[in-house]
């Protein structure tokens, strides 16, 4: 059952003299109980997408088109109060800088009480009991509820943020770069925890990251974003083992891996300026495989196999391109 769907969503930012199209037409269907990863480099619009779902864009940002449907109901058209009731209760978010998201002058438990009494309609006592349960769930001693945020280490704060997101039994958790800036061991623990929570509570998780290795071992589905659009989506294993879009091929080349000895290859060039009108494929300036049509026509995201989508004119040449993409010289053709 799909219960969160994003339909042709466009989120734009009004700049002084132009419109910055941070998210420019994204379709995404999220099924219950899935962990879906959204990867892409900075500036590809992944954080904006999350902000759009949570409706917390910066003041000059607005939803230009499209819709976000939760259980079939449009979240954009629904009343403010109803939306507020859904957010956090049904859809919770672990913010990017969750280290700083706790107010330093309050005890940690106060944050839980605030959320649960204001939004969950629980009494203060119930809230404290629930907070204790959640702390145990994320592996922190209950006693530490009465501590202040600065008494927690970075990894602990991240867990507190997760516990806080869980406190109203949400159905969906959106985690924006939940492990960036954490040490590997802590990162590992946080990922394991997300994995366990999913299997325990049938939680749906949207995991936003720039790091392929973070999603590789946790996610079921993957969407690769580039310059405000999804360029490839589908089952994670399929995408990582056999990418169809040159950008996805490039990304998997660019990561060092303990288990591989391949030479790393970078994708030269940079993301196009989204405040300008885009012509042709957005990746064309960095793509070593571009042909004439790529410069003139923007490829549509099409389903060319059951559950596998890619937006590339040369999607059917993938066998050949995957081979070529392993060569360093191919990518060097595009000058930085």
């Amino acid at each position: 059952m799909s219960f969160l769907t994003i339909e042709d969503l466009k989120i734009h930012y009004q700049l002084k003299n132009s419109v910055f199209k941070a998210v420019d037409g994204v379709d995404l269907t999220i099924k219950e109980g899935q962990i879906i990863g959204i990867v892409g480099e900075s500036g590809c619009g992944k954080s904006t997408l999350v902000k759009g779902i949570m409706q917390v864009m910066a003041r000059n940002g607005f939803i230009a088109a499209g819709d976000i449907k939760y259980n079939g109901e449009s979240m954009i058209k629904m009343s403010e109060s109803k939306r507020r009731a859904i957010l956090w209760k049904d859809i919770a978010m672990i913010p990017q800088a969750s280290m700083d998201s706790l107010n330093p002058v309050y005890r940690v438990v106060d944050a839980f009480i605030e959320v649960m009494t204001l939004k969950g309609g629980k009494s203060k006592k119930e809230a404290i009991v629930r907070a204790g349960e959640l702390f145990e769930l994320v592996g922190i001693d209950k006693k530490r509820l009465r501590d202040y945020p600065h008494q927690f280490s970075g990894g602990m704060k991240q867990r507190v943020a997760i516990a806080l997101a869980l406190c109203l039994d949400p159905k969906i958790i959106i985690a924006d770069e939940p492990v960036t800036a954490l040490d590997v061991i802590v990162q590992h623990q946080v990922l394991t925890m997300l994995n366990n929570l999913r299997s325990q509570f049938n939680l749906t998780v949207i995991l936003i990251t720039h790091d392929i290795s973070v999603v590789a071992q946790t996610c079921d589905e993957l969407a690769v974003m580039y310059a405000g659009k999804i360029v490839e989506k589908g089952n994670i294993r399929d995408i990582l083992k056999s990418p169809r879009h040159p950008y996805s091929m490039g990304l998997s080349n660019a990561f060092p891996d303990l288990l591989k000895n391949d030479k790393l290859i970078s994708i030269n060039g940079s993301v196009p300026n989204l405040a300008l009108e885009q012509k042709g494929c957005r990746f064309v300036s960095r793509c070593p495989f571009s042909v004439d049509i790529c410069h003139t026509h923007e490829p549509e995201l099409t389903e060319y196999e059951e559950g596998r989508y890619a937006a590339c004119h040369r999607v059917h040449d993938y066998n050949e391109l995957q081979e070529l993409a392993k060569g360093v010289s191919v990518w060097d053709k595009v000058t930085s």
Binding site: V184, I185, Q187, F255, L258, L259, S266, S336
Partner: protein
């Protein structure tokens, strides 16, 4: 040039930070950021220092560059002892030979200097050649880090360049004075994934063509594997394991190293995410217990670990480990993570 094969020789180096004592209350213990480390680096090779944040790896890097004075211990650079009794000229000389590459390229360059000015500065400081010679040197250096065409970069300001380009400038700046030694502290962690590889490859290439001795500091073992011949694993200011990178990564002997390695996420979706075999609690560097520093996180800790600090000892497969039970743990417990594959449900 000194006689020694080693460019860097460090013995029992310590750096303790003394907190401000308050007028009343208990005396605060010093923070033992680096607590007696020894290693040496052969000329022209690269070594990686890995560990969690707070393990003292950055402090070690700063000690090697004399940005901190050591509390105790000996640090020899090219066979010459680098103690606090150096003259100003000797220090300046050392500053030319030993360079640092910064983590954050957006910060490392003066925002009000053009790229040309930034690169020229170290040359001016070290009175390198005439203006003409300097200019040629700068252009040559920018070509080496592949910022071509050079003329389009010379007069730009840092904010006009992308992160990857900036990090190339930062690299060029540290290499423009022909140093012998380079410390790179998390050289790509601030960069976007798609350009990291480019900078890493460049560093690998340039340091080897210039014959540099390099220290890479990173929490990312896959990066160290990519760049370094030798690896040092640090935990709370001490070295727990050191040796050739391959040996460390594929047959680790210390439980901490094992945990670090199995925590590194892989980009292979078939590898399973395993539970780590260590405890969560983290001892802080200002309150270090007697005995082994890793005792309260170690699943194998026994009585002796709480009493006696293990020394760094050579093991059978050519590397050094500081653990009382390394032989038993090392052979038996470590499973190659390749074997466990993920099940899809």
């Amino acid at each position: 040039m000194g006689q020694s094969d080693f460019l860097i020789e460090v013995e029992d180096l310590k750096k303790w930070f003394y907190p401000k004592q308050s007028l009343i209350g208990r005396r605060k213990a010093p923070l033992r950021a680096v607590d007696g480390i020894s290693f040496s680096i052969k000329k022209g090779t690269s070594i990686g220092i890995a560990g969690e944040s707070g393990c003292g790896k950055t402090t070690t890097g700063k000690l090697l560059l004399k940005l901190y004075d050591a509390t105790e211990g000996s640090f020899k650079f090219d066979g010459v002892e680098m103690n606090s009794g150096m003259t100003k000229q000797e220090l300046k000389d050392f500053r030319r030979k030993a360079q640092l590459m910064f983590q954050n390229p957006y910060e490392a360059l003066n925002p009000r200097y053009t790229i040309y000015q930034s690169l020229q500065e170290p040359l001016i400081i070290h009175k390198y050649g005439t203006k003409e010679v300097r200019r040629k040197k700068i252009i040559n250096m920018l070509e080496k880090v592949r910022l071509t065409p050079v003329e389009s970069y010379l007069h730009k300001f840092p904010h006009q360049l992308s992160g990857g380009q900036l990090q190339r400038v930062v690299l060029a700046r540290s290499l423009v004075v022909d140093p012998l030694f380079l410390v790179a502290d998390e050289p790509v962690s601030m960069l976007d994934v798609s350009v990291r590889a480019g900078v890493l490859n460049l560093m690998r290439e340039v340091t080897s063509t210039m014959g540099l001795t390099t220290v890479y500091i990173s929490h990312d073992l896959s990066l160290i594997k990519y760049l370094c011949e030798e690896t040092v694993i640090m935990y709370l200011g001490s070295i727990v394991e050191k040796g050739p990178t391959d040996k460390i990564l594929f047959s680790p002997m210390h439980p901490y190293t094992m945990a670090l390695i199995s925590a590194v996420p892989s980009s292979d979706p078939d590898v399973e995410l395993k539970e780590l075999n260590i405890n969560n609690s983290i001892t802080s560097a200002d309150n270090i217990p007697d005995g082994c520093k890793f005792q309260d996180r170690c699943p194998y800790a026994q009585e002796i670990c709480f009493k006696q600090e293990p020394l760094l000892q050579k093991t059978k497969n050519d590397h050094f480990v500081a653990c009382h039970f390394s032989e038993e743990i090392g052979g038996k417990q470590y499973e190659n993570r390749l074997c466990s594959t993920r099940s899809y449900g």
